[in-house]
């Protein structure tokens, strides 16, 4: 069992898997995150929505520890990510699986080494065992073993996304992050990726955070939606309430209005 699972404080309330408390981040005079507060509980699937430039990706990078917020704190299963030593950040990242927008597969490595990267820590050993593991993982995302030795550039956009998904789940993480999982894909392929994400999150019992501006994707993947606008969470509710949120900005976003 994962060391960060099932932490219960004395009050009996489960510790959120991810908690952001008054997180702020500016680039020069531009406030990108202006006091973000957010909680994601275990097993929940949250979609963070918002227009371009509303700080979704910056928020995600702060959670992953790739970017340091100016103030506020980020807790992963009750443990601080902000201000943690790089060793502690690395330890916390063992619980993360991340699907990047463009896949971010390593061009210099064949697919099987990409997929097993988290298991080998980037080393080339245990070739037979790792190729078998990669083949199994690729099968889970609907890819055949014929892609094992190919370089990422030989794969189509959809196949790259699947391979990147296989890489993200290889070490059975507790928390999965998806950054714009359907961007750049045609509607059929986007639907397939959405269904695949739902299936994997369910099978793994993982907590999921999806950054998206694709409404259909958010409705398919998420239980709950948080709307980010001008660096703040301005609405947070069940995905089923998106159409009657009672929030003007959410309504405009749903209807595609300025």
């Amino acid at each position: 069992m994962s060391e960060i699972e099932d932490k219960m404080p004395e009050t009996g309330e489960a510790v959120p898997m991810i908690e952001l408390i008054d997180v702020r981040k500016s680039f020069g005079a531009k406030k990108v995150l202006d006091g973000v507060n957010l909680r994601v509980t275990k097993g929940e699937s949250l979609a963070v929505m918002g227009g371009s430039g509303t700080g979704k990706s910056v928020m995600l990078k702060c959670i992953l520890g790739l970017m340091k917020p100016d103030s506020g704190s980020i807790l992963i299963a009750g443990e601080p990510m902000t201000g943690a030593t790089s060793r502690d950040q690395q330890r916390l990242r063992a619980h993360f699986g991340m699907l990047f927008q463009g896949g971010a597969l390593f061009d210099s490595l064949p697919i099987w080494r990409n997929v097993t990267f988290a298991l080998t820590n980037g080393r080339g050993g245990h070739r037979k065992e790792m190729r078998d593991r990669a083949a199994m993982l690729l099968e889970r995302v609907g890819l055949g073993s014929e892609v094992l030795d190919l370089r990422p550039s030989s794969l189509s956009g959809g196949m790259q996304k699947r391979a990147a998904l296989a890489r993200a789940i290889a070490h059975e993480p507790d928390i999965l992050f998806f950054d714009e999982p359907t961007t750049g894909l045609d509607p059929v392929l986007a639907g397939r990726i959405n269904r695949l994400i739902v299936q994997l999150v369910k099978e793994m019992g993982a907590t999921a955070v999806t950054i998206t501006h694709d409404l259909h994707s958010a409705r398919t993947i998420a239980d709950r939606v948080a709307m980010l606008h001008q660096g703040k969470v301005i609405w947070d509710g069940p995905a089923s309430s998106l159409d009657n949120s009672g929030n003007e900005i959410v309504d405009d976003f749903v209807k595609g209005l300025e």
Partner: protein, 260 residues
């Protein structure tokens, strides 16, 4: 008055920018050296980089050294002829190649080939989020990407310089014997007489320093690239120009420190 203030402010910003940039580079270098010295080590990655920097640079380094050694011999022959000192050709080819031309030419050729490739590769990895992906997969980009390149640069440049010196001296010998009428045995005997241990050590030291700067600046500019394809292009240019400058500057400093 306002114009003067604006000019002073611009000058101040430029000076602060230079110092801030130097500070960032020094911190980056310290992080890379730390990553190179402390485990985990990635020997497979190191061997890969040694092959890319050393083995695959051999053709360009060899050809450059051969042509330069031959041209040097020709120039010294003509220049020396004015003072009836044509016989100095072997000695000056040895001095010229080992002390200056070998290390500097290899440094510049490898900088053009390798610093640009490193900046382009790391820059592309940065803008396509592959470096972020490395971090989320718990591989330290400094250990996995940069330290092997730096160590390979420091190890391979001295080897390349040794090869270049040998080929450059051979280029001078080939031209002198075949075109300028030198006696082969006498030329080689003079060459051997003028190869000095200290010069050789200094050449290797210079090469290691150049290798350090080539890999450091190639990786630094690539790692900090931003802004898509244009950003990667700009990073590549900065990597090549800055490594050229650092090679020539450190060459002067080492030469002055040893011979000054």
């Amino acid at each position: 008055m306002m114009l003067i203030l604006r000019m002073l402010a611009g000058l101040g910003r430029a000076v602060i920018g230079v110092f801030a940039g130097a500070g960032r580079l020094v911190i980056f270098a310290a992080q890379v050296i730390r990553a190179a010295l402390l485990p985990p080590y990635y020997f497979g990655r190191l061997l890969e980089q040694m092959a890319l920097i050393g083995w695959f640079s051999l053709p360009v380094v060899g050809l450059t050294a051969l042509f330069t050694g031959a041209a040097l011999a020709q120039q010294i022959y003509i220049g020396g002829g004015r003072f009836n000192a044509e016989s100095t050709v072997p000695a000056i080819v040895v001095f010229g190649m080992i002390r200056e031309l070998g290390p500097v030419l290899v440094g510049l050729m490898v900088a053009g080939r390798v610093a640009s490739a490193m900046a382009a590769e790391l820059g592309t990895m940065r803008v396509t989020e592959q470096i972020d992906a490395l971090a989320t997969l718990r591989a330290d980009p400094f250990r996995w990407l940069i330290a092997p390149r730096l160590v390979a640069g420091v190890l391979m440049l001295p080897l390349l310089v040794m090869v270049a010196n040998a080929i450059g001296i051979m280029g001078g010998w080939l031209l002198s014997v075949n075109k300028l009428g030198f006696n082969s045995g006498a030329y080689l005997a003079t060459t051997r007489k003028f190869i000095e241990h200290d010069d050789f050590v200094m050449a290797l030291m210079k090469a290691a320093v150049f290798g350090f700067f080539i890999a450091l600046l190639g990786c630094y500019h690539g790692y900090r690239a931003s802004g898509g394809a244009a950003g990667v292009g700009a990073a590549t240019t900065r990597a090549v120009v800055s490594s050229f400058i650092m090679i020539l500057l450190s060459n002067l400093i080492i030469t002055l420190a040893v011979f000054g």
